[in-house]
């Protein structure tokens, strides 16, 4: 039996890597973004193991992923989208949305509503975590904010 932590981290790593290929992320981001995805999921998993609620763990993991993702983007001079998107992919509730529709399609309204609400809470926590992370990163950006003045425009 594979120990759960290794299985979890490896699963998140390969899940993120595969998704990176699917969205055709720049090649040099594949490994760092996958490591970030695995780390973010490990944070979520670790916090739930410590007894924190699912929603709280997802918020904390998204916040961590967002801060680290934006830092990676800044250091690697890439768009933040690549890292922000891939840092959360292992806990976006695609399966939850699918199960919601599946229950509702089968006429089972109560479990469908339950799954739907759980999925929406997860999504809200991810959005909130990433939003907070982006705000904090802009506010305390490493190296400070650089003012950007347009360069001398046209060459003619």
């Amino acid at each position: 039996m594979i120990p759960e932590i290794i299985r979890t981290v490896a699963g998140a790593f390969f899940g993120t890597l595969g998704f990176g290929l699917l969205v055709r992320a720049p090649k040099r981001s594949w490994i760092p973004a996958s490591l970030l995805g695995a780390f973010t999921f490990a944070v979520y998993w670790g916090l739930t193991q410590l007894g924190l609620s699912d929603a709280g763990s997802i918020f904390a993991a998204s916040l961590t992923g967002s801060l680290l993702g934006l830092f990676c983007a800044l250091k690697m001079k890439m768009i933040g989208t690549v890292f922000l998107m891939l840092s959360i992919i292992s806990f976006v509730p695609g399966l939850g949305l699918y199960r919601t529709m599946q229950y509702l399609g089968a006429g089972e309204t109560a479990p469908g509503a339950d799954q739907g609400i759980r999925a929406m809470i997860t999504i809200a926590m991810i959005a909130l975590g990433q939003g907070t992370g982006s705000f904090l990163f802009r506010a305390f950006r490493p190296g400070g904010r650089k003012s950007r003045k347009p360069a001398a425009i046209n060459k003619n």
Binding site: G11, G15, F19, F41, G94, T100, I123, L128, I153
Partner: protein, 259 residues
């Protein structure tokens, strides 16, 4: 800048916005990039408004007239390399300056970057195997999810070649993703259909689209948020519908359900 040169600035602005939108960039990024490029050209009152299916750009020229462009956007999937390159060009323009013709040429190059579609089945396969592992699958489950997701993505690409709607591909993909493991289970009892199905469905599921919808809405992009939200619900509905169809087919074939 002469009026003619000012008019020529519209082409690179349109190209930048279109490339970002068509390749999976966010609406706020389009607006930010196009506005930044417009200012770098020295244009005044640059305004950009983008929704997932359209792009509107305007700026005031030195004669007081407003140059406006409206473009229909047709998304062609995610290609973040292109989005990243456009962003790099806009930053370079800001730092060093660039003529409209130079910028347009650079952006045309980016638009023509190879699609690398061969990577998609590999990506789907790796993604599915990873998630099957995350959902507690064993080695045979991982292998089954890997092969199945790769096959389904290959079929989706084939359908796309015949100009089938992406949603039809999602429906067919989900039917196959649910039906094939159930049939395989008859020959390989060691297989855990739930892990295989859950893993192989992940590349088709709209979790990220729904998250983008909520993020857009929180940012104040209501139209974009609604549009992404509806897309996500429709996709989730189709995936679930496909699973229900597969279940019905399996029941007819074997007399027992799988869900």
């Amino acid at each position: 800048m002469t009026l003619e040169e000012q008019r020529a600035c519209m082409r690179p602005l349109q190209l930048a916005g279109l490339i970002i939108m068509e390749n999976g960039g966010e609406t706020f990024r389009v607006e930010e990039t196009v506005t930044r490029m417009g200012r770098a050209f020295g244009l005044e009152e640059v305004e950009t408004f983008s929704v997932p299916s359209g792009l509107f750009i305007s700026y005031r020229m030195s004669d007081g007239n407003v140059e406006t462009s409206v473009k229909r956007v047709r998304r062609s999937g995610n290609h973040l390399v292109r989005v990243d390159r456009v962003n790099a060009v806009s930053r370079e323009m800001e730092r060093t300056g660039m003529t409209p013709a130079e910028a347009a040429a650079r952006l045309e190059e980016i638009r023509l970057l190879p699609n690398r579609r061969s990577l998609l089945p590999i990506g789907a396969a790796v993604c599915a195997a990873g998630f099957a592992l995350l959902f507690g699958g064993s080695w045979p489950d991982l292998l089954a999810a890997f092969l199945l997701a790769g096959l389904v993505e290959g079929i989706c690409m084939l359908l796309d070649k015949f100009h089938m709607q992406a949603l039809v591909a999602v429906l067919l993909g989900s039917i196959l993703t649910v039906l094939v493991p159930a049939v395989l289970k008859s020959f390989l009892p060691v297989l855990s259909t739930e892990s295989v199905i859950a893993g192989a469905l992940m590349p088709l599921l709209p979790g990220l689209t729904m998250t983008t919808a909520v993020q857009d809405t929180m940012r104040g992009d209501i139209v974009s948020g609604l549009s992404h939200g509806i897309e996500a619900i429709l996709t989730a509905g189709l995936v679930a519908g496909g699973a229900l169809i597969a279940n019905a087919v399996f029941r007819v074939l074997t007399g027992g359900g799988l869900l």
